[in-house]
Amino acid sequence: GAGVSQSPRYKVAKRGQDVALRCDPISGHVSLFWYQQALGQGPEFLTYFQNEAQLDKSGLPSDRFFAERPEGSVSTLKIQRTQQEDSAVYLCASSPRQVAYEQYFGPGTRLTVT
């Protein structure tokens, strides 16, 4: 059953390290989203792709955050020079059509920056 998968599931990074988080969306889904979820909060939008085009990156908190989806399927969220406030669960979701339609979430990557 091919749902959204993410890797790694858990990542511990020392402050200042770079990390790369991977998302494999549901096959054929054109839209892909990245969210950041802090403890006790709802998911906060980071960025959105339609196929390989990054249509909205307004939620990326700083220029240390970068996302790509070069072939319109797998996406990578990269965080450079990690800081403690980057600690959160990073959720990826894909959708078969437009942004407002149902989104299917992956299990998330829990990032802890020490």
Partner: protein
């Protein structure tokens, strides 16, 4: 700024009780309201509502949207311990990303 507000933030009930979770929204060019259930992992999709007054049902769960008053409710009847989770509400316009509320944490005790 678009926002979604859920209430209550947390709720404790006994098995068999019926609960109602609330979601109010302010979303520019609103198009759809979505409900998700989040246990320890990824949010799982429950409902998408686009039209006022039409109830959507799935087993013991149901939801309805009021586009005039800008809110939605999620009802769960005959609650079970497996219903314990955070329930997330999100609003979307169709050309902007979903805006999520903070969720309602439901705890069902035996």
């Amino acid at each position: 700024e678009d926002k979604v507000v859920q209430s209550p933030l947390s709720l404790v009930v006994h098995e068999g009780d019926t609960v109602t979770l609330n979601c109010s929204y302010e979303v520019t060019n609103f198009r759809s309201l979505l409900w998700y259930k989040q246990e320890k992992k990824a949010p799982t999709f429950l409902f998408m509502l686009t039209s006022s007054g039409i109830e959507k049902k799935s087993g013991r769960l149901s939801s309805i949207l009021d586009k005039k008053e800008l809110f939605s409710i999620l009802n769960i009847t005959a609650t079970q311990t497996g219903d314990s989770a955070v329930y997330l509400c999100a609003g979307g316009s169709g050309n902007t990303p979903l805006v999520f509320g903070k969720g309602t944490r439901l705890s069902v005790i035996a």
